[in-house]
Symmetry: D2
Subunit: 99 residues, 4 copies
């Protein structure tokens, strides 16, 4: 199970607002039951099988193009840990316990 953050920015749309694109991207995630997702002020965090996550991000990246954008900047950060089971919830707990 990997934890992956994705942020998708349409370029050249003439509007500073991107919330519509983010909402449409997040709808794709909600249809995919095998991936957990969390919305943050800077993107979406996904938890699940890495190959499946890559597939979903590939779809999300198309969202702004489908709405007319001609250039898209997508940033992805993968945290893939294989020495023990991890999860978004577990990572947050682990930090909070030490604060």
């Amino acid at each position: 199970m990997a934890i992956v953050e994705v942020a998708i920015i349409p370029m050249g749309t003439g509007s500073t607002s991107v919330s519509k694109y983010v909402a449409d991207c997040h709808k794709i995630l909600e249809e995919q039951k095998d991936i957990k997702s969390m919305l943050t002020p800077m993107g979406s965090v996904l938890e699940g099988d890495l190959d499946l996550i890559f597939q979903e991000i590939r779809k999300m990246h198309e969202v702004p193009f489908a709405s007319g954008a001609m250039r898209v900047s997508t940033t992805i950060r993968i945290d893939d840990r294989r020495d023990k089971d991890t999860s978004m919830e577990q990572k947050l707990k682990s930090v909070r316990k030490k604060m």
Copy 2:
């Protein structure tokens, strides 16, 4: 007011765990009352004056070195919008309203 995400990774520590470093970084943020912060599974999101945020990130970046790390990889993403007031909370609301 800018919204900024920061993720700090110590390298070569011999341990896959980084929660102690993240917790120490977040303690720095909690001492700074003029910056709001939110912990996510992939980093910390900060909201406030950009110059002040740069100062705090500069301190956070030193945390793993102070604990013995010899190499640190820090990733920062700034979202700076000046056509209207924004906030972490407002960004989340704006997306959720469209979902």
Copy 3:
């Protein structure tokens, strides 16, 4: 054709050096003739079909695990422009012309 930057960081290896992993990742790229690649001091930049690039990045992400790392942090930035043909070379030229 998309242009994509990827940086792969093994975590918890006990060594601050990562050049061996980067070299192994870059060897994967050199075997794939349909993707152009460029090494920078902060990662690798790839140019080609986005689906093919995703496949190659997926392989590159496994390299540190195959060498014993138990946690890997991978950062990907995609620049996908569809209103005109672009390339790594073209992007560099376009900036230099304006300097």
Copy 4:
């Protein structure tokens, strides 16, 4: 000496082209003799004192606003290694030697 990559994206400008902004950002870097810089297809890589680099990035981040953009997305990746002297050139050499 740290090595830092920065990529600055203006949002909502109505144009998919960003080379003018990148060129203006890079001009700022060329005036600063204590920082070495390298243009890549995905951003600028800087080498020098980290505090000085933060100062320059802070200036670069203002460039699109000065040209009329109302929202700017800036991504920064810091590689800070303190167990030995490093440089952009040294990092490239070290990888190439192992390929």
